[in-house]
């Protein structure tokens, strides 16, 4: 009896809740850690990035306007669906990062747990970061955190799932919408995560994932006037130039570090506060 020929997947971008190919028609070869061919991934272009920004902007009002409880449930649902895909994620992480099956599975578990952790933050941020202000006058005065808007995320190049989740989930938890550029050499977990997002009640356009080269797309996103913030995590040597470009529209910038952070460490609020604004409202007290 002959062995079954497997059905292979076409790897595409995730923009506006749909899975388009790159408008440029470009793909690039993805190999595993030993250099063996794995797939042809879509090689996102400037135009794809701009389409993704349009989608993210369009989704912002709905996502930021949803109740924090609702956002929390939607994000928790993502973790539920990730759990069902754990084996697939583990295989991709093992192949891409050259990890043992056990270590890859541990990274997947940590990624799912990290997502759950952020899902639980949506309705606590206001209490932790906001509050009432005892002003010296007859006013009720309160401050609340609000999402910045559209955030471009250059995902880490090495940690293809735990790192990816650790930069995407905080942006979504704040109520921002995201345009993410995956690890260039290890894009498969980002594509699988796209499929998870597409099947877990996250509205189209809230998270847009592009595979390709952050060094190529990053400058367009850093300059783009309709992008409000940028996480430079995976920017590598281009980080300084991107921060300069981002200054042109005063984007909120989360800087990168020379080495990728220890993704297993408790991140605290450090990846959420850069993409939160604070609104203070004054109202008179009187009869």
């Amino acid at each position: 009896m002959s062995e079954r020929i497997e059905v292979r997947k076409t790897y595409k971008l995730y923009v506006g809740g749909k899975f388009p190919r790159s408008e440029s028609g470009r793909t690039y070869e993805v190999t595993d850690s030993r250099g063996r061919f794995v797939a042809n991934a879509a090689w996102a272009s400037r135009k794809d990035a701009r389409d993704a920004v349009v989608a993210a902007r369009g989704a912002f009002a709905g996502w930021s306007g949803a109740t924090a409880y609702n956002r929390g449930q939607v994000l928790y649902r993502v973790a539920e669906v990730m759990e069902g895909r754990a084996a697939q994620f583990a295989a991709e992480v093992a192949a891409g990062e050259g990890l043992s099956e056990t270590k890859a599975r541990a990274a997947v578990d940590a990624a799912i747990d990290r997502w759950v952790w952020y899902a639980g933050w949506t309705d606590k941020l206001a209490a932790v970061l906001g509050g009432t202000n005892p002003v010296a006058g007859p006013y009720f005065d309160f401050s609340v955190p609000e999402p910045t808007g559209v955030v471009a995320v250059l995902a880490p190049q090495r940690s293809s799932l735990l790192g990816l989740v650790s930069v995407l989930a905080p942006v979504l938890a704040t109520g921002c919408t995201a345009v993410l550029v995956s690890s260039k050499e290890r894009p498969l977990p980002a594509i699988t995560l796209s499929e998870v997002l597409a099947t877990s009640d996250v509205p189209g356009g809230v998270a847009n994932l592009l595979t390709g080269d952050a060094a190529e797309i990053g400058p367009w996103l850093a300059e783009h006037a309709d992008v409000d913030g940028i996480d430079l995590c995976g920017a590598g040597t281009t980080a300084m130039e991107l921060e300069r470009s981002a200054a042109g529209t005063l984007k909120r910038v989360l800087r990168t570090t020379a080495e990728e952070p220890d993704w297993t460490a408790d991140p605290g609020l450090s990846r959420m506060t850069p993409f939160l604004e604070t609104k203070t409202v004054w109202h008179p007290i009187g009869v």
């Binding site: 202000n133 200054a247 909120r252």
Partner: protein, 478 residues
Amino acid sequence: MSVFEYAPAPESRSIVTLRPHYGLFVDGEFTDGGGEPLKTVNPATEEVLGEVAVGTDADVDRAVRAARKAFTRVWGPMRPADRGKYLFRIARLLQERAREFAVLETLDNGKPITESRDVDVPLAAAHFFYHAGWADKLDHVGLGAAPRPHGVAGQVIPWNFPLLMLAWKVAPALAAGNTVVLKPAETTPLTALLFAEVCQQADLPPGVVNIVTGAGDTGRAVVEHADVDKVAFTGSTEVGKQIARAVAGTQKVLTLELGGKAANIVFDDAPVDEAVEGIVRGIFFNQGHVCCAGSRLLVQESVHDEVVAALKRRIGTLRVGDPLDKNTDVGAINSPEQLARIRELVGIGEAEGAQLWQPEGQLPDRGTWFKPTVFTDVTPAHRIARDEVFGPVLSVLTFRTPDEAVAKANNTTYGLSAGIWSEKGSRILSVANQLRAGVVWANTFNQFDPTSPFGGYKQSGYGREGGRLGLRAYLKES
């Protein structure tokens, strides 16, 4: 009788002793600067108030080294409660010398004495008092146990609220354990230098606060100095972008409080007289030299004529003139440069087809002045509806529905502040939710408090000043 005539009620300036020459304040002492001194002028009279030293790169370097030394040896290691005590002292000294500060501020800036006396100086003292209490409670700011200061803070402040902006910058920096190099605005350096005397009277250790006067080049030297860890700037969006670019790629932490083009939204159910007071306070307070000024009046179409008529009546009673006069409502424009900017934008407003209105009355012969100005028939595309004028110029636009009001209010690259006038609480909260602005005043305007975070969305900058959030900008997790 002309509208602006009235019996004078001048505040005496005898409480202020002007000096012919003012130095830089570095390492606890007044020293000369290497640059060509500049003259600071009373904008209401064109009187030269004194010559002020200009800090060069070398002077800034000297100040940063003094600040670093004070941070490492004295201020950083000091018991937090003791740091707090110095700040309490400063708060009390500001209160004790409040009248002197108020008169000097009015002389140097041109703002009405009632405002420097009742707003700027008391708020500055309040900021020090508030932050003094934080110094030994830093574990509670939300950055975990024992958060650490950044080190040396380089701070550049504007001319519209010289002492108050100093307080917003210096008080949280010191409370958190940083030391400071501060560059006041070139046209309003005098209260900062009087503040240096307060630091001496408080026996604040040398080098904890350094004040380097000068113009843009001096500010650039402060911002770009390699040994500055934290940069805080209040001023124009244009300069803010330059600073953001300059610190890119460094480890410097940056907060920016920049320009604005605030919408002041008046709904048809708002009590007209109250709203008119709020509109006037929103745009003519401090001659409109306010980043959060309510410079775009969005009035519901059905009450437009009534509101504008009442507004013009009220503006007709505003007293423009001698800032030292206690009856004055609107003082002098701070500098000829700013006056030229206002005139240019007002000229563009007329050329683009908006209707200009100004009250009757004569302006003083000497000094820099501009009449309170209202433009009607303004469209969202007009420059006067988009560009920050930073002067007493109001643009009036209309809307029909709450959605349209929100859309128009948010149709700007800025996002510092906004106002809402309505009797309906649910409407106020709904509109406040949708406005992309850092401070929303409902049925009031231009209120400030040290406990209340202030700062912008979008290109009005980032970071907050005031409250726990403002303090956090001067700390990092340990």
